[in-house]
Subunit: 175 residues, 2 copies
Amino acid sequence: MSTLGKCIDLLLTRRSVRKFKKEPIDMNTILRILDIARWAPSAKNLQPWEFIIIMDRNTLRDLGSLAFATRPLINAGAAVAVVVDPSLAPITYLVDGACTTMYILLAAHALGLGAVWINALRYQDEIRKILNIPSDKVPISVVALGWPAETPSPKPRKKLKDLVHIEKYGKKLKY
Amino acid sequence: MSTLGKCIDLLLTRRSVRKFKKEPIDMNTILRILDIARWAPSAKNLQPWEFIIIMDRNTLRDLGSLAFATRPLINAGAAVAVVVDPSLAPITYLVDGACTTMYILLAAHALGLGAVWINALRYQDEIRKILNIPSDKVPISVVALGWPAETPSPKPRKKLKDLVHIEKYGKKLKY
């Protein structure tokens, strides 16, 4: 198998990690991840994204206290908020922002870091206030990052045959 | 460097490939890609996605004739339409669908296939009609797949320092 062929494991072994060791992450590691995330695809290559690196413990605690789902941020080594610009890419800003977030998760995994995607769309106003994000920009995700203190088992997935249609919607795969 | 560490190349060497060789892609290869795409993350692990595998040349030509941007489908070996369900994941169906599309692109690249993400959101109604997709489901992407007949150079990307804020939006990185 080719070198890249072995990289299918990168996709299959990524997990959402929510428990982190106390060791900090250095800024250069985070910048390396974002330097990879720059290379995510986007519609018309518009790259309608920006990143906020958060290492301040008070800010992480404020973000982590918003809801049950944001709690992994409280003990994260750092976080990255992905902010997108609807005026730059009105139809695709959400999918573009998802692609660069996906790159952050995979790059973190490649470097041995744990990460979990915190859905920021549900708490846009609160996150805007904490991070001083202008009202015309959309925080799509906050990725909690840290050295993993757990190795989660894979979550169940729907079966391939229940997801696949052949040629037209409704013609299910038979095998 | 670890095995997964080498996989950063998977992320950095992916390109949008729009020219394909005439050789067909066999169904098992496409199923293998979708079997990987199942493992993309989604909010609350809801997996609000389905896939339509398209190999019929008439259907590929109909999809490819919709607009300039869809033209790579005409000569693609096959295509996969990603369809998402807003009723299942009202806030996150677009980002979830983007994640599994990203997995399709990366899995195809790992297997040596070329691929390009065709934005389906602009042509939802036309694509629904061609593929018999119910009106309550959203075609988010159509991925054109084929053995690559071009090796595109990397497209330019914005500079890291222009994308990164430190702690709060507006505090730019200095280095």
